[in-house]
């Protein structure tokens, strides 16, 4: 398939892997410990597992799977909030597919649908707006999730709803921002990370500048990365090059899509509709300053929380899970005692076990679970 197969060429992969290997021999750190490179974005995690990249990499590189999976960092209380909106009379609640199975404190949207709530999976916020047009007697709410990647599309949907005077449409806003999330990880006292793959689609919207503090203040190399397997390998090579040369800058591997200045019309739409919230809660990371956005007062008629006077729920994570430590890269999924025991894809305790972008689900679905569990047991005995 054109424009896809070129980025999945095994011969090119081998050539890059050889380059990485030869660079590593000139890299001082790997004589003491493996390099720890975090792919922030869940889309990258998915690619790494889908193409078996972890097993292709030298043992001296460990990929750490970051928090950039929007449903994975959605606090349980927000799922409960979504459920309370979805279960109202006369409401059609619309959502992206990923969010359907994420457990709230009592149930998931999928279970609420089976209980009779009108919950529909859509592929775009504009589909939700079309539903509102088709059902003027119903209130249509869209569950807006995601980092900056999905913000322009939800912002433009609100602008369109305003222009067309569609009054029965609103947005349950849970958008979060990338830079404060990465900063929270970098500020962790136990953090050992040598470099980052930055999310390509987020960068396509916000550009290069928001990542510069990572290179300047924290002295970590960071490479804006595409989503095909060769993109990932090339970016790892670029990060290792920086480490080996003891440099730290923001580089752009995904220049075919992400421009240094970002996407101006997209940014303008975000700016027009949203403003930074003082602080937002991210699952596993807690409350972080400016880590989320809210709908500006000018558009409050489209804000589902205000429209339906939502009373926010608070719900902590189940005690036996270590979602926070896994999200921060402090713990590998299989090292959590719930992994494979009480937390499985069929009975997930945390969202990391639900989404195909979640690190736990990726290890569970694409790895050998029995091997991982045996490894955990061995680690426990040894410690």
């Amino acid at each position: 398939m054109k424009y896809v197969d070129e980025f999945r060429d095994p011969a090119k992969a081998k050539a890059i892997l050889n380059e990485i290997q030869s660079l590593l021999t000139k890299t001082a750190i790997v004589k003491q410990r493996p390099l720890q490179i975090m792919e922030f974005c869940g889309g990258h995690t998915h690619t790494i597992f889908r193409y078996g990249i972890e097993k292709l990499l030298p043992e001296t590189i460990e990929m750490v799977h970051g928090p950039g999976c929007p449903v994975c960092v959605l606090p349980r209380g927000r799922v409960d909030d979504a459920l309370s909106l979805a279960e109202r009379d006369n409401v059609i609640f619309t959502t992206f597919g990923d969010a359907m199975r994420v457990p709230g404190s009592q149930k998931s949207l999928l279970q609420a649908k089976a209980d009779g709530a009108d919950i529909r999976m859509v592929y775009s916020p504009l589909d939700a707006l079309n539903l509102a047009r088709k059902h003027p007697d119903k209130q249509v709410i869209f569950f807006a999730l995601g980092f900056e990647t999905t913000m322009p599309s939800t912002a433009l949907t609100i602008l369109q709803a305003e222009k067309q005077a569609i009054e029965n449409f609103s947005l349950f806003c849970n958008h979060i921002t990338t830079a404060p999330t990465i900063k929270a990880i970098l500020d962790e006292p136990d953090m050992i990370l040598d470099g980052f793959l930055a999310p390509g689609h987020v960068s396509m919207v916000i550009g290069k500048q928001p990542f510069e503090f990572i290179a300047e203040h924290y002295h970590k190399p960071i490479v804006i990365t595409g989503f095909e397997p060769l993109d990932i390998l090339q970016s790892i090579w670029m990060v290792v090059q920086q480490i080996s040369a003891q440099r730290s800058t923001v580089e752009n591997q995904y220049a075919r899509v992400a421009k240094a200045s970002g996407n101006l019309p997209g940014l303008q739409a975000i700016q027009q509709v949203y403003e930074l919230d003082a602080s937002s809660e991210l699952r596993g990371l807690g409350k972080l300053d400016h880590s989320g956005v809210k709908i500006r007062d000018d558009y409050q008629q489209f804000d589902a929380e205000k429209k339906f006077a939502l009373t926010k729920h608070a719900a902590s994570d189940p005690a036996e899970t270590c979602c926070g430590d896994v999200i921060k890269g402090l713990m590998r999924p299989w090292q959590c005692h719930a992994f494979g025991n009480s937390c499985k894809p069929e009975t997930p305790l945390g969202a990391l076990m639900v989404s195909s972008e979640g690190a736990c689900a990726a290890y569970y679905n694409f790895g050998n679970v029995n091997e991982l569990l045996a490894r955990r047991q061995k680690d426990t005995v040894n410690s």
Partner: protein
């Protein structure tokens, strides 16, 4: 007599004259065979004929609730015959008789039902099977979605055939009779929610003749299943678990049409899990693989047959995919439906 504007009403299921007319006009005439035309409460068979055809009697049932009723490459009627015929055939059975139970939502155009019956008859003829008994229920608007069909099938397994999921052995070859994921992609596309332009056709087809020829060539086929809901990955996981072996698949050899690949790329789906309605997966002794492939490729239902991998020892109970990129990953069964990703 009915006009093309007629619709099914509750009276068509009430047991009276309207129902009798519907059965006579549509089903008896449509399915056209003596056993059904006798209009007894049960179909009756001569046991000695059945016994002479084989050693074991096979029976299976399936219900069909597909939406939309008509889709590129098929319809609910064709599906209801193929699905049950194929479930018999993958056990090595020669399909003989089908029952047909219909649950109809009131308001369904009679013409729609007529088209479905015609399609069932055409497909049954193609598969060499008779629809010999049936039942019709009409339910209130909203109690069913347009039309649901259940078919039960009876067939006979000849002596010397022993197809079982647990018989896969390390060294066996894994064969498939063509492109995967066509049906799943065609149905999702036909629902029209995605506004994609494609010409993907469902692969819905009876497999019994192809399977008969395969068994003629190699009666010692170890495992055979049709990869319907849950796709190829589900069948291979079932084989791996039952036989405690590993199904080792080479992604480069997997037949996926460019249009289906594109469809999956856009939606973030994996063709390994997409439904098929005319694809069989066979685990066969390695020595017989080439001969079998040659026979399969001569059949219209198997012209794109390929060997996609082999059975290995470990990791036991798993499906292992060698990715075209040069990596490896396990492919597990899905928990529920595949869900499109956010971004």
């Amino acid at each position: 007599m009915s006009s093309s504007n007629d619709i099914i009403t509750l009276s068509h299921g009430a047991g009276g004259k309207a129902m009798r007319d519907l059965i006579d006009d549509l089903f008896v005439k449509g399915f056209a065979n003596e056993t059904l035309a006798a209009l007894e409460d049960q179909a009756r068979f001569d046991l000695s004929t059945i016994c002479s055809a084989g050693k074991q009697l096979a029976m299976t049932t399936d219900s069909y609730v597909v939406d939309p009723l008509f889709f590129p490459g098929g319809d609910i009627g064709k599906l209801a015959v193929c699905g049950t015929v194929n479930d018999l055939a993958v056990g090595g059975a020669i399909p003989l008789y089908l029952s047909c139970g219909m649950i109809i939502e009131e308001g369904l155009p009679l013409e729609t039902l007529r088209q479905v019956v015609l399609s069932m008859k055409t497909t049954a003829d193609q598969a060499g099977i008779q629809i010999v008994t049936g039942d019709t229920k009409v339910v209130h608007k909203g109690a069913a979605d347009k039309l649901f069909i259940n078919t039960t099938g009876i067939g006979v397994i000849p002596a010397g055939i022993d197809i079982q999921a647990q018989r896969a052995k390390p060294g066996d070859a894994i064969l498939i009779n063509g492109f995967i994921g066509d049906h799943g992609a065609a149905i999702a596309d036909a629902r029209g929610e995605l506004s994609l332009e494609s010409n993907i056709q469902s692969d819905c087809q009876p497999l019994n003749d192809l399977i008969a020829q395969m068994l003629n060539t190699c009666p010692d086929i170890h495992c055979l299943r049709d990869a319907t809901r849950g796709g190829l990955a589900t069948v291979l996981n079932e084989f791996a678990e039952a036989s405690q072996t590993c199904m080792s698949i080479d992604e480069k050899r997997l037949p996926v049409r460019a249009a289906v690949r594109g469809f999956c790329e856009i939606l973030g789906l994996d063709p390994l899990y997409l439904a098929n309605e005319g694809k069989l997966v066979a685990i066969v002794p390695a020595a017989a693989a080439e001969t079998l492939l040659a026979i399969m490729r001569q059949h219209p239902a198997g012209k794109d047959s390929v060997c996609i991998g082999e059975v290995t020892q470990a990791p036991q109970g798993h499906m292992l995919l060698k990715t075209a990129f040069g990596g490896e990953r396990l492919v597990d069964m899905l928990v529920g439906d595949q869900l499109p990703r956010i971004c």
